[in-house]
Symmetry: C2
Subunit: 144 residues, 2 copies
DNA sequence: TTCCTCCATGATATAACATAACATTCGCGC
DNA sequence: GCGCGAATGTTATGTTATATCATGGAGGAA
């Protein structure tokens, strides 16, 4: 965990990014759990640590972390989870347990994979899968 | 479209479900577009048609439709889209165009597939993919 | 009929999630 | 010192979703 933070520091230094105290703190918060955390819960934890606690504080830090590959948003939960693939344009698959709320990130290599494969490798039983791709449809591609 | 509604009526009748006026109207609204629609936009359209327009009106109807396979929620957009696989426990994959906002539903047979396969079959260029599975993790399965 | 239960809807309020907009601060190169 | 850009401070508001209790109406049992 402390090692992860250190890696994040290094990555930022090497890439002209600024892991400011509040951003670092949010990253620590996210890495401390294996469950997803909502922005307002993060805000509470920030306040406890003496940071300001207006919503933009959390959302700005989260934007930074998500942008730079230190965190992901879990759309189904409106929550966030730590990651450690900085800068990587990866397409992860998340396994969200309905019983213990744990969220595990599995790598979906090169966007070519099957959910069931990934899940079974992780020992996860899928009850419902959300797959949403963003991009360009046929006709919009043709126009370009 | 009118045919879809008719099928929905039939399915409901055969399964003891009640496609009430407001539920039917919401389904019509969803089926009229090939883009996802937010609950509050639906609410506006309901009001224009003389229905009540407090949030629970839309959310209740949407819950019914989603529960019974007449609609899906698009998590990335906090919006809803019509479907016509009533009762089917299917695992669809959605292709969301960032340019024209169209959303197309592709069938992901038996939860065993690859996003890139589905996308290319549909002529869709994937820029980002969200894959979130809900279910039971290894340890929670073991306890059961 | 009367009463009961279930389902759907009505109605009010509030919770939870997220962003807009503008002001301030601070470090850095000129 | 000055101008600039990045980050943060601050206030306000927008957007999405749910909790809760009240009302109504169809259908069955006694
Ligand atoms: Zn990741
Ligand atoms: Zn679990
Ligand atoms: Zn569907
Ligand atoms: Zn398009």
């Amino acid at each position: 965990m402390e090692k992860n933070i250190q890696e994040a520091e290094n990555y930022c230094q090497q890439n002209g990014l600024n892991l400011t105290p509040v951003r670092r703190k949010v990253l620590e918060i996210l890495l401390e759990k294996n469950t997803a955390i909502g922005a307002y819960e993060i805000l509470d934890l920030l306040r406890e640590s003496g940071f300001k606690n207006q919503p933009p504080v959390a959302y700005r830090a989260l934007d930074f972390l998500v942008q730079n590959g230190f965190a992901h948003k879990i759309e189904q939960l409106n929550s966030f989870i730590g990651c450690m693939h900085p800068g990587k344009d990866h397409s992860p698959a998340f396994m969200i347990c309905r019983n213990c709320d744990s969220v595990s990130e599995e790598e979906a290599l090169t966007r070519n994979f099957s959910v069931s494969q990934i899940a079974s490798k992780a020992g996860f039983t899928v009850e419902k899968a959300v797959i949403e791709a963003r991009g360009l449809c046929q006709s919009c591609s043709d126009l370009a």
